[in-house]
Symmetry: C2
Subunit: 84 residues, 2 copies
């Protein structure tokens, strides 16, 4: 299964990387950009034991996100799991 | 317009963050994970001048990625631009 995880700073949490990019873009000639938020994009392959349902695989990925991939105190995450 | 940019290390480029996560997951009890790649997920709002077409907005975002958001030498990027 192909898994893609999107991690973003929670609303209200300071995002210094995003603020820096937002300040830099006008200097490069790009205007009209706001609300820049920078997070992580994580891709991996998951080969669960035979007989695992998509729902069970999604529960596993959710646990991975909570335990390692994201910091649920300051970050939100979403993910997709595609068979194949 | 809402823009989402996905930046990933190019294939063949060392991804130390991804390698670390791949080694850590089995220790946390998660098996069957491989090919972990960690990149960036960037969201922002783009308010282009009136009359800008979606195609022109996409060209602008492509240029932003090449100039600032990604490093095209070691990273690949894709993006979506939604009106609204």
């Amino acid at each position: 299964m192909n898994v893609r995880v999107y991690v973003t700073p929670k609303k209200g949490i300071l995002d210094p990387q995003g603020a820096t990019v937002e300040r830099a873009l006008p200097n490069l000639g790009f205007s009209g950009v706001s609300d820049v938020r920078i997070g992580k994009f994580i891709e991996f392959r998951l080969d669960p034991p035979p007989g695992t349902t998509l729902e069970q695989a999604r529960a596993t990925v959710d646990e991975m996100c909570r335990k390692l991939l994201a910091n649920p105190i300051i970050e939100d995450f979403t993910f997709t799991v595609d068979e194949g």
